[in-house]
């Protein structure tokens, strides 16, 4: 698997650390209540198909990247810097 870093171009998957679902970008307010925090921390759509997740270009530029990809085919549609994504 190769991932295109918006800064560095196409790189080997080994340069990246996988964080998980891009839900991590939608942090609830501190007083949002236990259910919102449970959903944020634990509960997942876990789709068989298109998903968005967060990868860290650990051995590269150090950017956090939102990767749109397919969990069944491993095809990657697009990558965006997390800093530019508003959810």
């Amino acid at each position: 698997m190769r991932i295109t870093c918006p800064n560095c171009g196409e790189r080997d998957r080994r340069e990246f650390y996988y964080q998980g679902d891009a839900v991590a970008l939608a942090r609830p307010a501190s007083d949002a209540g236990p259910q919102a925090w449970d959903d944020y921390l634990h509960n997942r759509e876990n789709p068989a198909g298109d998903t968005q997740d967060l990868w860290f270009h650990e051995a590269g530029c150090g950017a956090w990247i939102v990767v749109s990809r397919n969990t069944v085919t491993h095809a990657i549609d697009s990558t965006t810097l997390a800093a530019t994504v508003k959810r």
């Binding site: 698997m1 997942r44 876990n46 068989a48 969990t71």
Partner: protein
């Protein structure tokens, strides 16, 4: 039909013509007392124990593919009870006891081989951690022996003991650990359940779960609607999709885990051995293939096939630990879909819907749990009460943070196990 040595000889004399299919292929009835979604090892074991322990025989197992075609046929067949945390250790201890009686109980040869499992350690700190784990296992009533380098050398002479980077300091030996023939476990439970009247319905995919007023009424399938007062979801890597049919989101992310097998060789590895400084464990099948695996690829996936980096890591670890393996040729590799929970421990619980139960989150350790999970899930579905050894596997432990079972001590968060 009972299997015996006599029967094998008799069939040999009469051209093997007397063997018959060991489970029926029934059409689904319009209604059952209980339904199990998922005809893997756990689902079939659940059906078997529902029938045997609780007298529930008007039940069906719904399998979208064929029996033995999912993770129960894709794992590396290790059976062990070497867990550390309360909640896990009593469960796996119970499961191993069920393994030890399984072949007699099912009258089915699952080739359960208690050849011993050795987890190697490579530093003083790791030795301390394994000594502590061994003590926990002994406290649980199971067996554990702490071996020093000489002790390991005696039983595993082929390892690279003086590896410059990862010298072998010893190993935690679990003599009752071992392997079993994975498909046979599914077939044995399927046969046992069928003999007790359970309908095993293959090629029957559940497409919806009918819920009215917070109570489960039955399921929709590719072979029509089926009513039932109780429904159990036991679908491993597909738990997220099936739970979604009931309007639930689960604390589960599905990941791919790879395994490998070499060409058939003469007996060379007599135990199950795991490397302590990289992701690699190995055993030898009765057919002669060296069966080995590593860790997750560490990204969510339903592809049932992995990527090259983990393959490379596993091969490197194998060469580091036992250089002789370099002479073997890898025959094939494959992947399975693992239902990973944040703390790495499973879930056996009721849901917020009356009559709907779930058994999932077995991560990469589901095979050894097949009998224990089936037994405990059947107990929960039949009585509405948690079976004591599995009472810690609550679905809500993530929300309230009470009773998390983080066996590896890495934290209760997705992607850490």
């Amino acid at each position: 039909m009972t299997y015996s040595g006599f029967r094998v000889i008799k069939e040999g004399l009469f051209g093997q013509s007397g063997w018959k299919p060991v489970w029926r292929d029934p059409d689904p009835k319009p209604e059952y007392d209980a339904l199990i979604i998922g005809g893997g090892g756990h689902g079939l074991a659940t059906a078997y124990y529902l029938a045997k322990e609780h007298g529930l025989t008007n039940i069906a197992v719904l399998e979208k593919g064929y029996i033995g075609g999912g993770n129960v046929g894709r794992n590396t067949t290790i059976v062990r009870a070497n867990y550390f945390l309360p909640g896990n250790s009593e469960f796996y201890s119970h499961s191993l006891k069920l393994w030890e009686g399984m072949e007699q109980e099912l009258n089915y040869n699952v080739m359960h081989s208690q050849r011993g499992l050795i987890n190697l350690f490579h530093s003083d700190g790791q030795r301390d951690a394994f000594a502590r784990r061994g003590n926990a296992m002994i406290n649980q009533g199971d067996d554990a022996i702490l071996l020093d380098t000489g002790g390991v050398r005696k039983i595993l002479p082929y390892l690279d003991f003086d590896n410059a980077r990862f010298p072998i300091y010893g190993g935690l030996y679990h003599p009752r650990g071992g392997t079993a023939r994975h498909d046979a476990v599914a077939w044995g439970y399927a046969r046992g359940a069928d003999q007790r009247g359970v309908d095993i319905i293959q090629n029957c995919e559940v497409t919806g779960i009918d819920i009215e007023g917070g109570v489960v009424k039955g399921v929709q399938t590719t072979r029509g609607a089926i009513k039932a007062k109780k429904v159990g979801i036991v679908v491993a890597g597909r738990s997220g999709q099936v739970a979604e049919m009931a309007g639930m989101r689960l604390p589960i992310e599905s990941h791919v885990l790879q395994a490998f097998v070499t060409e058939g060789l003469k007996p060379v590895i007599d135990h199950v051995v795991s490397f302590g400084m990289g992701h690699f464990y190995i055993s030898q099948s009765d057919k002669g293939g060296l069966v080995f695996g590593g860790d997750l690829d560490f990204y969510s996936s339903y592809a049932a096939r992995g990527n090259l980096p983990m393959k490379e890591h596993v091969m490197e670890a194998a060469m580091t630990l036992m250089p002789m393996i370099g002479k073997a040729k890898v025959l094939r590799s494959w992947g399975g879909i693992m239902d990973m929970t944040p703390d790495g421990s499973p879930i056996i619980d009721k849901t917020l819907t009356d009559g709907l139960f779930i058994d999932c989150g077995w991560c990469y350790g589901g095979f050894k749990a097949v009998p224990g999970s089936g037994f405990s899930f059947a107990h929960l579905m039949a009585t509405g009460q948690h079976h004591a050894p599995a009472a810690g596997f609550r679905l809500d432990r993530f929300r309230d943070g009470v009773g998390l079972m983080d066996e590896e001590g890495t934290g209760s968060q997705h992607n850490l196990h």
